[in-house]
């Protein structure tokens, strides 16, 4: 045991000396390992970062809610096929509301971009959401200050508004917006609440929005609009069953014949998740293939360099054997050397991936799991041991006297 320990320490220090003596060669040899480790770690860093932010964003979409729309979230056919579909209307929403037994809440909603102003401050391109009266039950919106729209305000199509954080900040900064009047397009609205901060979803700020009653929006900005109907499943209802029921209700309400295709789409969060996972699986696979090939090439490079090293150091091996080094001790010396080269390559690779991650972080969220960093260094060392095996065995098998004679 003690012998093993000292052998290993000795082997590591020999290896280190050999690496220092051949710095350029070792660096070149390790390039494949560096690139391989960097590719894998960088890929994982990017995908892990995207995953974390995507999951966070998805959590803003209710898990038990489906969304009926004219255009599906994920288009599988030609855009023009969907464009010929009739809009989703209040009549469709009412049909669902009336007939569905599995829905707990049904909310039609619509959004439009309008300028919003207070006094002389004008914000262009604010999302104006016209919400149905059960909006709070299907969507994750909570007022932070003030309150949400009330039933009477919905029914009477009042000119009241709940504004997002960003809108509040930009129009009022530190002042209290509640009770103030703002203008949306040409119409005046009284502010009754400010929403909690929500962050961004797929690159869009969810705080740059204002919510008004759906009826008010239609009254002020036109009735011919394409609605999104959010339907929340009742407690314990499976989304597949809800979708089946909704399909039946909508086919009747939209007067589709038995042979007609559905002219609406029912979307849910998991669809996005599935598509996303498919996408990232591709990125992962590409990363692992590129990384794997680099590691393979790197490993062969290491094998080559170790063979050269064994040949160059045949005399040294002879001396060591003459002084009593056993085969296992020589084998270990060279295995540790090639593991060390690769581990150093791995460390450099992880370091470069970190740098790359920091640069990419300006556009995409990245996060490097520590387990991946450590794991890939360990894997690089394993590659070193694997590809070092043949050269090391060659060194260990050398006959002492033959090795000593080589100068």
């Amino acid at each position: 045991m003690k012998t093993f320990f000292w052998d290993t320490v000795e082997a590591a220090s020999i290896a280190w000396g050999a690496l220092k003596a051949n710095r350029v060669r070792a660096t070149l040899a390790t390039l494949g390992i560096v690139i391989g480790v960097m590719t894998v770690v960088l890929m994982v860093t990017i995908v892990a970062g995207l995953n974390a932010s995507f999951k966070k964003q998805l959590s803003l979409i209710g898990a038990g809610t489906v969304y009926v729309t004219r255009f599906p979230w994920i288009m599988q056919d030609d855009f023009f096929l969907y464009r010929n579909r009739p809009r989703l209307t209040l009549r469709d929403a009412e049909a669902i509301h009336r007939e569905s037994l599995l829905a707990e809440a049904v909310t039609p909603s619509v959004d439009t971009m309008r300028p919003v102003s207070y006094g002389s401050t004008v914000l262009n391109g604010v999302f104006v959401v016209g919400a149905g009266d059960d909006y709070q039950k299907t969507e994750n919106v909570m007022p932070e200050v003030g309150r949400f729209l009330s039933r009477q305000e919905f029914e009477a199509n009042r000119s009241v508004v709940v504004i997002g954080q960003e809108v509040a900040d930009r129009l009022f900064s530190a002042r209290n917006p509640i009770g103030q009047e703002i203008r949306i397009g040409a119409h005046r609205y009284r502010i009754i609440g400010v929403l909690e901060k929500q962050g961004t979803m797929f690159g869009m700020s969810l705080d740059n929005q204002v919510i008004i009653p759906l009826g008010t929006l239609m009254k002020h900005f036109g009735r011919r609009r394409d609605l999104t109907i959010s339907v929340k499943a009742a407690e314990g209802v499976r989304l597949v069953d809800l979708k089946d029921e909704l399909t039946g209700i909508l086919r009747r309400s939209r007067k589709l014949g038995p042979g007609d295709k559905d002219n609406f789409s029912i979307n849910e969060r998991d669809q996005l998740m599935a598509t996303y996972n498919k996408l990232t699986a591709g990125v992962y696979a590409a990363g692992i293939i590129i990384g794997g090939i680099s590691l393979l090439v790197g490993g062969i490079g290491i094998m080559n360099i170790m063979l050269v090293s064994v040949t160059e150091r045949t005399h040294e091996i002879g001396i060591r054997k003459a002084l009593g080094a056993r085969r296992s001790q020589v084998l270990r010396q060279f295995l540790i050397e090639s593991a060390l080269i690769c581990a150093v390559g791995g460390i450099i690779g992880v370091g470069l991936a970190r740098l790359g991650g920091a640069v990419i972080n300006q556009w995409l969220p990245t996060s490097m799991p520590i387990s991946v960093a450590v794991g890939s260094m360990a894997f690089a060392a394993l590659v070193g041991i694997f590809f070092g095996l043949y050269p090391a065995a060659k060194a260990a098998r050398l006959d002492p006297i033959t090795a000593l004679r080589k100068e």
């Binding site: 012998t3 052998d7 003596a21 005399h315 009593g324 000593l404």
Partner: protein, 243 residues
Amino acid sequence: MDRDGELIRLVDLHKVYKVGEIEVPALRGIALTVQRGEYMAIMGPSGSGKSTLMNLIGCLDTSTHGEYWLSGVNVSTMDDNELARIRNREIGFVFQTFNLLPRANALHNVELPLIYAGMGLADRKARAREALTAVGLGDRMHHKPAELSGGQRQRVAIARALVNRPSLILADEPTGNLDSATGEEILQMFDELHRRGNTLVVVTHEESVAARAHRVVRLLDGQVVSDIMNGHPPQPAVDIHAL
């Protein structure tokens, strides 16, 4: 272990080198016994088999036929690992070309046998320092071979040969690469080692070197042709560590 009596016994030792299809007989039936404490020179013209015999006695190579007993153990039947152990514990080599590791300093070179013996850091540093000091290189421990003179290098090699307290010191043309004054220093060191009870076997082609030994074995064509005492009788073996 018994420090008196027989250290080496060679029985009808043969070595045949195979070069392609051709067989080159290098040793042809060597029979030799060496007592502990002896100082023996092996002489003979070039190609007579001196180095081959050295390598066999040093367990660097194995014989084709015959027996080799070292300290009462039959070495001819040993496997690779056992031979490595014998080289490590029982034999100290001094080579004509020194065979030091060029990248390692003197201290590390002397530590090597102790490392392969599995000795811990503190112990082996102390032992290696002691050995270097004993050969007069206490102030050169951190010099690399390239920074040392030929004589100093050979003294490092001697320190390395002695550090594991072997039963046998084997030297192949130890003065061959040294000028005569430096060679004389090394030979004086050998005299001293012998006086202290070490067993030495030295291969040489120089009569002046052989004259220092008390026994001279001459080889010709792989056979012992003469084995004579140099006048003074074999000294009684003394345990060097008792001194």
